[in-house]
Amino acid sequence: MQRFQCEPREDWQKSVEAIGFDFHTFDAAPYWREEAYWRFSAAEIDGLEAAANEIHKMCMAAVAAVIEDRRLPLFGITGLAAELVQESWARQDPHLYGRVDLAYDGTGPAKLLEYNADTPTSLFEAAIVQWYWKQERFPQADQFNSLEESLIDRFRRLMQGIPSADPRRHLHLSCVVPNLEDEGNLKYLEACAIDAGFRTTRIDIADIGWDRQRNKFVDLDEQIIARMFKLYPWEWMVREEFGANISQAGTQFLEPAWKMILSNKALLAQLWEMYPYHDALLPAAFDRAAIAAQSPRGVVRKALLGREGANITIYNADGTVAEAKDGDYGAEGYVWQARAPLARAGSGTAVLGVWLIGDQAAGMGIREADGLITTDDCHFVPHIFA
């Protein structure tokens, strides 16, 4: 893999806006960057795809193990949250998508940094924006990107066997409004769901109603919400006022509640315990000392429920802090992970996000950070392979 500079398309803002990408710039700084791109070999892409599929398989086994071995408290998942996780897993509630973030610089095997399994974003950029860029700039080249077909196919499967008048053919999609980025992701998923044949309604998370006569969640027209895609963290939902109603409501959520296990960074310790020294894993544990000997480059402390790079501290091998980002998280505990080399991107670093649609790796998006931690200030950079 190699990073190249290139000339951005003239009027690139107009090009991306024409395809509906209205959050390409935040606070005057471009989030979408096309003055550089990454070129991979086909063999590298095959390796990344295989790694993501393997990681996902291990993760699904980890969910089963955590529930079976009653380890949810280690994840800080107790009470109502634990009930919802167990119920949704027992019902085999289907899932839609997720993104595994990988450390990979082309020299060794890709390593799992974390699994954004509950509320991943940057989907639209990966599926559409970089595809259009490639078609204009490198029409002969290929891209790790079958996201749209895979999403539509996944939505079709979610409708299989459901009678045409069934309310489960109506998908509600919800996020925090207003929020350009989250709404962009939501609208894209909605378009895919519509292509697959769903009726859809978008609703602000704060507008969701609870009908106490019918014991159902309802939309603003008081229609029952039978199925809902929510771009809103499970661990927040369960603590909020309506959390206690989820179990009796019978709404089928995407992502399902059992994804709370995968989006929790305690997963990293669980995986390392189940699959020690697996090629795709970094040493990880709840106890810093437990992985010290296997962490020649230092260790990283991550809050179990941290988002957007918050509450992450990277330590050098000598114990000094290489980089730290504070935030609102951490009360729920931390996990320690061996530090991995990240791909160098100019003076910053790049993290590869491989998308899982259903249980299959189906595309990739690359985000670059100025420092070592990928935060909400990162940039999305396109890729090709040939």
Binding site: F26, R99, N116, T119, P120, T121, S122, S174, C175, V176, N179, E181, D182, N185, D204, I205, A206, D207, I208, G209, W210, D211, R212, Q213, V218, L220, E222, L231, Y232, P233, W236, M237, R239, E240, E241, F242, N245, S263, R307, E308, D328, D376
Partner: protein
């Protein structure tokens, strides 16, 4: 606010006085005469929210003046003879006796003032209005419906819809608003 729409409101009041029964069955708020875009003004939940944003003494003065004038204009708020008919539109608990907000207000009912609007008509001209929210969550500044309103100090989340039909709202989303997150995704 045009004088035309004030006249409409007053006319509606007169009609109610003569056709009480018919008006009481009317479940819709007085038909809005115009739409104000959210960019034409700001809606504050209360005086404190406005003062919190005030950068200088002039702005403080404007806040106080806007708030006072909005209160004064409660005299023009849509009136309902019975509390129940008012609550059909604005929701249980969201209507108050007119006499409690208007001097010599009589025995009718008016919607609760959820906030006030500091509007900008361009050319430095401003107008101030009390703001109501109906049970569907629609926002009114006086008799005009406000599209895409941006509330300062927290928008009431369709409070009325909640109780009038056994549906409660606003039970999700509080964590995000408490944290003022840039995105909940990752």
């Amino acid at each position: 606010m045009t004088s035309a729409s004030r006249i409409v409101l007053l006319t509606a009041g007169v009609a109610c006085a003569t056709l009480l029964a018919a008006c009481d069955d009317e479940k819709k708020p007085a038909r809005p005469q115009q739409t104000i875009s959210g960019t034409q003004g700001k809606i504050y939940k209360d005086l404190d929210s406005c003062l919190a944003e005030a950068a200088d003494m002039d702005a403080v003065k404007t806040c106080r003046e806007a708030y006072q004038q909005a209160l004064d204009k409660m005299a023009e708020a849509p009136q309902y003879e019975r509390q129940a008919s008012c609550e059909d539109v604005y929701g249980p608990g969201n209507c108050v006796p007119r006499g409690s907000v208007v001097h010599d207000g009589g025995s009718s009912f008016v919607p609760f003032m959820w906030g006030f609007m500091l509007g900008n008509m361009g050319g430095g001209r401003t107008y101030y209005q009390p703001v109501f929210v109906d049970r569907g969550g629609a926002t009114y500044a006086g008799a005009s419906v406000v599209s895409a309103p941006s509330w300062t100090g927290g928008r009431p989340s369709a409070p009325a819809a909640a109780m009038s039909s056994s549906v409660a709202r606003g039970g999700f989303g509080s964590t995000a608003s408490a944290r003022a997150v840039s995105t909940v995704g990752g």
